[in-house]
């Protein structure tokens, strides 16, 4: 089934009912969790307040402590129910989607792409000291082999007494074997400078900012506003980012409404999509009976196949 054309049929026939059942559990777990969290905070606040005035044990205090322990246990239980709800969503709903879209796939909730794959992409140059992720999916889609997961790459530092946390990358990264045709590195990143400061100033600032690879200027002004191209070989980079590829990537940006970066380096095609939320988790604050999350996953796979097909033509 072509999911892009027949998504509604797929959703109604195979997914919706399961989502409705799951939603009941999920909403219940969520409500309990938030209620008990709130009560716990109040009790803890009251307890700390009383304790600070001096230790006095009275029957009321004993009831207070018992209630606090009870609420803690119930909150833990609610949290566990919520985690079970998340797992059921991934096992029952996402598995159906992957089964429909992918060939020979495997889905591991706790695994993620390796640091080696991340570094090989050359998409991010920031130093980091925390590397984690989840939800590794590997398989094939329309003949294209890939590995994909959520990643969280962070640099934690300490400045006197203050802790700083710099997020280098948080989102989805997809890697796929690259073509042997291309021996050098080409990186296409979303261009923040030209987008925020305009054409002239953006290009000026781009000349003075430090780049890991030499900047490659291409023909399309629209593409230049959206992306920054860097390459270790000016000719090969232009061979990859042809006018046709520039148009194609712009179409993908408009269609997907997602910002993404891609690279061809170290025999690997890498695509990175920054996201603010945990991509494969069900919605936390609303009903999970919705199509947005599933459609976004289909768009991401479509992006991969589209870029791969375009690169094959080069």
């Amino acid at each position: 089934m072509d999911l892009k054309k027949n998504f509604s049929t797929f959703f109604l026939q195979k997914v919706r009912n399961k989502l409705v059942l799951l939603d009941q559990d999920g909403q219940k777990a969520l409500r309990l969790f938030w209620i008990f969290e709130f009560i716990l905070i109040l009790l803890l606040y009251k307890g700390i307040n009383s304790f600070s005035k001096g230790i006095r044990i009275s029957p009321l205090d004993l009831i207070h402590v018992s209630l606090t322990i009870f609420i803690i246990l119930t909150t833990i239980n609610a949290k566990l129910s919520f985690l079970r709800y998340k797992k059921k969503y991934k096992d029952n709903i996402l598995e159906i989607l992957f089964k429909e879209l992918l060939e020979d796939y495997a889905f591991f909730h706790r695994l993620y792409l390796s640091e080696d794959e991340y570094k090989k992409s050359l998409l991010f140059q920031g130093e980091y000291n925390q590397f984690s992720g989840e939800d590794l999916v590997e398989g094939k889609i329309q003949g294209v082999s890939f590995r994909m997961s959520e990643l969280s790459v962070i640099y934690n530092s300490r400045n006197r007494s203050k802790r700083n946390k710099t997020v280098i990358f948080k989102g989805i990264m997809i890697v796929s074997p690259g073509s042997q045709k291309f021996k050098n590195e080409t990186v296409v990143e979303p261009d923040i400078l030209e987008k925020n400061f305009g054409g002239f100033m953006g290009r000026f600032l781009r000349k003075v900012e430090f780049s890991k690879l030499p900047v490659v200027y291409v023909e399309s002004p629209e593409f230049e506003r959206e992306f920054k191209v860097m390459g270790s070989d000016q000719v090969e980079a232009r061979r990859v980012i042809t006018p046709r590829m520039q148009e194609h990537l712009m179409e993908l940006v408009h269609k997907s409404k997602m910002r993404f970066g891609m690279s061809l380096a170290n025999n690997q095609i890498s695509i990175a999509l920054p996201t603010k939320k945990n991509f494969f988790d069900p919605p936390y604050f609303s009903s999970c009976v919705e199509t947005k999350t599933l459609k976004e996953i289909i768009i991401i796979f479509d992006l991969l196949v589209s870029i791969h097909d375009e690169l094959e033509k080069l």
């Binding site: 000016q234 000719v235 232009r238 042809t242 006018p243 408009h254």
Partner: protein, 184 residues
């Protein structure tokens, strides 16, 4: 006195930065010329092999084959990149005609050597296209720099003149995005 010294210092820094930037852009053009020249040479070196294989089967295409050899010979003797590029484009046109005629010689089509040479030529064509685009981008950057402030002030001093771009093929053109045009 101090103000004058500061002004001279700033002016000197300004001059050095602009001078270096123009030199960099000029070198970038030379770099692009070198890349294009190298790829064109690779193609010229491949032509005799292709013609040799084609000759064995294409007994009625001697005029076309001779024309290609002649263009190739002129191109390899030339020292001017623009002239080489122009001759290469003419040669490409003749080669396209040859490839159309190759359809009439099925034995040639199934010849492994010929197929491999054809693939190599296609690959080189893409590299030539990318090299031309690199050259044109470098020329645009350079021309813009010597026409705008402050580059135009040093133009005469450094003996710099505008350069011409190479013409592009259909596949190298950007089709204007009508959505963006409407937005403007």
């Amino acid at each position: 006195m101090n103000v004058a010294l500061i002004a001279i210092g700033v002016g000197l820094i300004f001059f050095i930065v602009t001078y270096n930037s123009l030199v960099h852009k000029k070198n970038q053009i030379e770099n692009a010329e070198g890349s294009l020249d190298a790829v064109l040479k690779q193609r010229f070196d491949l032509i005799p092999q292709l013609i040799e294989v084609a000759k064995q089967y294409m007994t009625h295409e001697e005029v076309l084959l001779s024309k290609i050899i002649e263009l190739r010979s002129r191109a390899t003797k030339s020292h001017d990149l623009a002239e080489k590029d122009g001759l290469d484009k003419q040669m490409q046109k003749e080669l396209k005609g040859l490839m159309v005629n190759v359809e009439n010689y099925p034995q040639l089509l199934s010849n492994n050597n010929f197929t491999q040479l054809q693939e190599a030529m296609t690959d080189l064509e893409k590299n030539i296209s990318a090299s031309r685009r690199f050259y044109n981008t470098a020329v645009v950057e350079f021309n813009t720099a010597i026409e705008m402030f402050p580059g135009f002030m040093l133009r005469g001093l450094m003996g710099l003149a505008k350069k011409e771009r190479f013409s592009v093929g259909e596949d190298e053109k950007i089709i204007p995005n009508t959505r963006e045009l409407f937005k403007k």
